[in-house]
Symmetry: C5
């Protein structure tokens, strides 16, 4: 039917059960004033880059640079301005942005805490929204990324952990004025960015479906200890995914219920669509969990069956040969007077007796359906 996506089960991200990439990062946060900026993700050497889009229905400008200073000049009142930051590991860059746009320190703290669960919060002049971005990479399995959005008047600032992202479709549509995006306001762009992220959840779901189906086949055909470890691996990833997506339901819900003028009534219907998708994703994850527990049962059963088969072979061999060996033992005794030993047909008779016993045994096993 459908062409199968070939997906390797990726290593379980360590981040799933640790707060920060490095314990020292946790230590640093202790006793700090709230709003002290500490990046809790993996430190990489990659540069942090900032790009700015400023557009209205008629024109679009675009500029990128290593920091906000280099490209803030194209931001223009009356336009929709989208500031996108790739990379969170240089606190200085983030700080500059915070100062430039007057972002609350607690907001920046959540931007940098990659372990922050999805949440929605209203600040004075900004709506703040964090979400997890998954994308399925060919080599490393699922890549998890912490993405935050600050929606202000005429401006939207997005913070991403890593350079590669899912927003190229959005960029192309903006540049080439495809669809209605250029005619719409900031809140619509905000919706489209979140929608793109949530849409990609389906890719990840599909790769899970794929993996689970492969596992099920493996369990039915040739289960091994590796199978179980894969199962446990998928289970762990599922737990992590669920944890990342579950709070989203609540946060999108409160986003929809907010009364801020930054979100217009008409955009709400679009977010209700995203809400719908989120629930669908959560339900799918729950379904997968149930499926996995079914596969676990199948696996356990296949282990039991293997045991049974081994035992059956042992029992059949033993119960056939034990009586025969006993008979051979009888006539191997050295009594002076064992009449059968003198008979000319004794040996042949013993063979016949033995073969008869074996046949009877086999018939009994057949009746017990062991053969």
């Amino acid at each position: 039917m459908a062409k199968k996506l070939k997906i390797k089960i990726p290593p379980i991200p360590k981040v799933s059960i640790r707060r920060a990439a490095h314990p020292d990062q946790v230590k640093q946060t202790l006793g700090q004033s709230p709003g002290t900026l500490i990046y809790t993700g993996k430190k990489t050497d990659g540069k942090v880059s900032v790009e700015v889009f400023s557009y209205n229905e008629k024109s679009i400008e675009e500029k990128a640079g290593p920091n906000i200073g280099a490209c803030k000049d194209i931001i223009q009142d009356g336009n929709v301005n989208w500031v996108n930051i790739n990379g969170l590991h240089q606190i200085k860059t983030i700080n500059e942005i915070g100062e430039e746009f007057n972002l609350h320190p607690l907001l920046l703290e959540d931007v940098l805490n990659v372990d922050q669960r999805p949440k929605y919060e209203e600040f004075d002049k900004f709506l703040f929204f964090t979400i997890k971005m998954f994308h399925q990479t060919e080599e490393h399995g699922i890549s998890y990324e912490h993405v935050s959005f600050a929606l202000g008047k005429g401006i939207i600032i997005s913070f991403q952990e890593k350079p590669e992202d899912l927003f190229n479709v959005i960029r192309d549509r903006l540049r080439n004025s495809i669809g209605k995006m250029r005619q719409k306001q900031t809140d619509y762009l905000f919706y489209r960015l979140i929608d793109t992220i949530v849409d990609h959840y389906y890719f990840v779901l599909d790769s899970f479906a794929e993996k689970i189906e492969q596992l099920e086949d493996e369990v039915m055909e040739n289960p091994s200890t590796q199978t179980l470890q894969k199962l446990q691996g998928i289970r762990k990833e599922l737990i992590y995914l669920r944890r990342s997506v579950y709070p989203l339901r609540e946060s999108i819900n409160s986003l929809m219920k907010n009364e801020s003028p930054l979100m217009r009534k008409e955009t709400e219907r679009y977010f209700s669509d995203v809400y719908d998708h989120t629930i669908h994703v959560i339900e799918s994850l729950d379904t997968y969990r149930e499926l996995l527990s079914g596969i676990m049962d199948l696996y356990m059963n296949s282990v039991s069956n293997k045991m049974n088969e081994i035992m059956k072979v042992l029992t059949i061999m033993s119960t056939i040969f034990i009586p025969l060996t006993f008979i051979a033992g009888i006539y191997g005794m050295n009594f002076e007077y064992i009449p059968e030993l003198g008979y000319h047909w004794g040996y042949a008779a013993v063979w016949i007796l033995m073969i008869l016993i074996a046949i009877i045994m086999l018939l009994l096993f057949k009746r017990k359906k062991w053969l």
Copy 2:
């Protein structure tokens, strides 16, 4: 007692854990404007057909054609008009209908997304309702279909995925003016259509009951690995069914609570009846799940019992013959001086000894209730 419906356990529909029939369909939706129409179900060659009924208490007109243009002329103000579309795979046809009746793009998007969970939504001039239609086919087991309804003033538009449907009873009653339907308004027809779909859930429930009872018998009489795989299969189908029916509770509930003039007060009582049935179906599905887990226990136990039986046979044979073989071994030794060997009755005495040992063993096993 009851005549049994013979039902084969159908293959689990792949759609249950994939979003779309083909991954490309998912890809297409990424970054698209909301309301971009993409059909996510299986593409078939079948024609899309449109049929229109327009009736009042006194007269009824009926026309069908390949698209809405061919039959929209009989739609008449003041009448109850029912537009039924069979087949969703030709987006053009759906688009025409959307334009004809001024349907919201998001509404059409949900009509085409066969993976959409049941929901109720109010649009400006239409109430929108989606539901899953199951019907039990002889050859392919349960057939799942995504059905949507748009209820407007004097008009109801129904969208079905496949040509065969469950609405022939309704059509006959309309044509022959059986019952009160012809005297009632659009919202009553709407109720009757949904009621018919929910009533058919009971058929599917019955086929599940049937399958579960067969499985239980199989587990008690002759369990095999196939039994477990069937059990897992039913479990998967149950999960899918539950997922399809569960959101219905909520959506019928909000349908009942709506304040739109399109739904009259008196029709509400009828929908409360449908609501009741939905809850009954959900409770039944939950019951089935519990029954399945009971059957799982029975199965696991039967596997254990088989093992025990095998072990018992092995143990009985071994423990009887091991001492006997040992005695035979004793008198097979070649010591020059073994007094017993010289006795005339030695051989017979050994036989008697062996038989005695065997009898004692058997009595011991009897006391342990192994025989």
Copy 3:
């Protein structure tokens, strides 16, 4: 302590997982107008009988007949009138009653649908209430019956599925003016009828307690595959019972909260008592479920223990005799030069050696607590 009620575990009622006694009955309901009367229970040959009581504090009249026409003449305004129908399988009789008292078609539909879950509904002139009646019969185990009540002004109509019922206590008290019933209004009689049904739930609970205790003893003393099947049987019955009683909580609750003049404030306290009992029954059922799962554990453990015991016997026998047989084998070899064979005490020495080995083995097993 308490005298034990002897109760056989009855066959699980098929009705528990089927909607109707016969699939054709389901088919009949498809596409029918709501309120079309179809009886979904078992068809029996028994006659339907109608009885009417009409009483006030001073006098009581009583009349019975095959239909309502035969006995409706004693119904009197100002009295409490109780119309009781035994048997639902003759739709004509039910229809006549519906017409006589002006009952809503949907009400009658629920009266006839024996699979209807307990519910409370308000109609124009009647309060409608359905409940499941269980009674413990000597021969067939628990008998399940669908009972409905319609409470109107000065009248209460009760519909029962089968002739035998639990209301004789009520009849006697009415006839002989025992207690306060004759001085009270219709809603009090209504309460007493429902109270009687709920009180009987305790009988059924007691029989479950009894069965569960028997099962527990059986599992501890002499578990067999039959034990597990009984356990599964009780579990199924418990599921059915719970499904029948659980919605009662909600329906009594809404009955208590209703604002109809048909239920007076003072009767509410009595219903709050019934509500209390219902919760107690539900809690007991949940407790039983937990107990059953504990018994399941005991059973599983006893199966494991049996296996262990079998293995132990096998192992003890084998490990004692295997070395002895080996020694016998050694001296059964035909080497020309085996010095021990020539010794006069060789044979005796071998016996001593063997006995020593056996004793050492037994001591080892003792230390491992296998003996």
Copy 4:
């Protein structure tokens, strides 16, 4: 660390899964008017005794007798009056009290129904509260008692099932005017009585903690089938305890929320303390349940391990001796031409071969970590 309380695991009280001590008691209640007094506990021969305390800040009077008539004369308006009844089995005595103080029949019914779940109810002039009293006895394990309170203006009536009680501390403090009790009102005494009962729950919790710890040790050191039966026993008691305590949360909560003048605002804070304790007890019971399921796992594992150990012994013995016995068998054959038999060192060589094989086997087992 802490001195251990030695506690035997008591027999599970039958009352836990039966409604009444005797089925006839259930039968009696059927069809009875509400408020008909039937005692559902165990009938004992012990006398019912009534004691009355009447006190104010300055003075205290105390009188006891076989019924209320004998001691009601000291009850005095303006004082705090405490009437305590020990023993519920003489309905006459209870009835007299009901008449004396004008108690509602439904209130008395709940006093006598020892299976009544904890509840709070407001009557015209009395607040009614039932609770379960546990106390840890040396001989019989936990003793369960049904205790009820009726709080009226200036009077509190307490009903206990058995003579021994937990209220002696209260009596002493009243007599000797210790603490503030003598200065406070009826509602404070009410609080102190309930507080005393709830405080004793902690004793029972401690004995559970003790038993569970003993069980855990037993499972780790020397598990047997008795261990599992003890575990099941504790589980059953826990279920019963939970059922008794769980509804208390709700009933204390509604007691606190009541608006009756019988409970003063300032006493509420004290009850909020009791509420806190109740939640703590419930949480502990839940924790114990989780601990028990952990112990269950340990037990199951120890059974598996035992099996493994038995199998290992069998396998080691068998696999070492089977090849050796085979070799002995070879040289026990009677072929005329077996060259090895003629060699002078043949016998010694065979021994060496055998010992080598045994050593190799043992090394293999060592590598597999079976030794």
Copy 5:
């Protein structure tokens, strides 16, 4: 990746399932007036010490002593005053503090009851808040401590069980006027103290993550009974931790919702941050529980696999040698006429036959994938 913290699994704190360190402590509380002060923790010999900080933006004073009298003189109106008590075992000291600051007896009771679950309560002039403080010690694993706070006008009193604490960071920042703390009010200090405690939960979480990962490795590489006991140990600690943290969610929530002037609006946002962290901790604990149950499955499976392997070895050895030994037995019989015995190549032929049988067996096992 991250440097690993080496953490030994500490002994499960007994306090987790006992109310008090010593049963006598429970006994003492029975029948006592509410507010009678009884310390339920472990008695230690350590001194109780009191320290006072009094600061404003410009200056800070600090004094410590054995009781409140020795250092209360620096408390100053208009300043933020922080009174910190280390050690709860000397009731006299606590009592003095209660008198000095006019604390409610019930508040002090909760301060001393180390088993008190986290709660928030409003008293006349104080807000009361208890929380559990965990800190990871090198030697003893996790150390649990009961900490309480009373927040009054211009004063905050903190009660700690043990001398060592987590507040040194706070002290340093106060002394050196780092950050904004010195410019803020009492409620901000209150927030910082609680925040510090909750931040340390992450350390404990990390040590759990570490232990769980170690366990998972151990289960995959070399599972033993010890592994299971460790698993059970972690599970117990997790249960205790969860019980300590879970009620925190509710109590911080009611703290945030309080309307007391002691908490200013602007501090609320900070507490909402703490609330967020608490939920994150609870979610992590739930995740750990799921992970542990996955590890349990892995363990159980590894036990089964070991069994299978043992059985396989036994079966292979037995089934190969049993037929061979039988053949040797045949030619060990003493029949006078066994033709094969006379053949010159008989012995060699038998060897060849045996080797053939062995090879065939091995090939069969290979096909079954047992080798």
